[in-house]
Symmetry: C2
């Protein structure tokens, strides 16, 4: 049977969800040898409001590159959560930022509330690394791509001179993600 | 009749074709109010070799987000040109970099050989702005999005402090693109 895994990272403009998706896609494709499609859909009302970026990972060539039944959704804002949670499939995973998402949906999926933005702002000291902290959180929860490969792909993309900062951000997220993953399977 | 326009920007890793595609997609969606899908497909052999990024622009919602019949292809390397030109539709436009693409295909489409990389290197002094020069060249040739809107989207994406450099790169490309466009329709 063919393997297909659909990921959507959502939030608002400026939170770097497109870059996070590209990094995760490249880690899966270049370093893990998967077929991957990374995409963003923009409507005429794209300015402001919720933004999203998607990654589809498969063992086979991807004929239909549109996410229709999400395995994994990250929502960094209430608006993004409200707008997109219905696309989650049964048994899927929803990760929300605990400071920005207060009302979570009910359904047959696993929800994690994680202090992603707070970790970026308080622990790393720069809210701009929210997307890299996010990558750390989601990598173990998704479980398809190894943290080492994601870290490599981060290094390929961040501005020169910021590698150490981004590494720190990734590891702070990773710690949270691994904790949640282990708590769940324990 | 519904309008659909398919663009592929291709080259090799490091030439910034994904960022150029995202900028063009956002200019079309956010500033021109179109429906847009921007995507990259990675195969297991993505490391090295030709890379591509696509933008599909439509007046309606885009149901099938895969480019199958290109209206416009940019190829910055011979390998990318050889690999992708067959996806160009009849009457489409092919832009190749004149220093890196020496053999161009024959077919029922318009070909422009443009010194894109040379302009970035010699005129702007930084090969890293090849993607921004590319945006300048393709914007008038595509003709759907105004140069002002692309310039806005460039400003949204380039690192702080590099706006002037990128503006210069965009305008150098724009000059070339407008010259070619006018020569054609004169």
């Amino acid at each position: 049977m063919s393997f297909r895994y659909e990921i959507r990272l959502s939030g608002e403009g400026g939170q770097g969800m497109i870059l996070a998706s590209i990094i995760f896609a490249e880690a899966a494709a270049i370093y893990e040898g998967k077929n991957v499609v990374q995409s963003q859909v923009y409507g005429p009302a794209s300015r402001g409001g919720a933004t999203k970026a998607e990654v589809i990972i498969s063992d086979e060539e991807i004929d239909y590159p549109k996410a229709t039944s999400l395995d994994f959704l990250l929502a960094l804002t209430q608006e993004a959560c409200d707008k997109y949670w219905k696309d989650l499939k049964e048994g899927g995973i929803l990760v929300v930022d605990s400071s920005r998402v207060h009302t979570v949906p009910q359904g047959n999926f696993t929800i994690y509330r994680v202090p992603i933005i707070e970790t970026a702002r308080e622990k790393i000291g720069k809210e701009i690394v929210t997307n890299i902290v996010s990558l750390g959180v989601i990598t173990p929860l998704i479980g398809i791509v190894s943290p080492e490969m994601v870290e490599q792909a981060i290094n390929d993309h961040v501005p020169k001179g910021t590698e150490a900062l981004n590494r720190q951000a990734f590891h702070a997220g990773l710690e949270l993600g691994q904790l949640l993953k282990n708590a769940r399977t324990a």
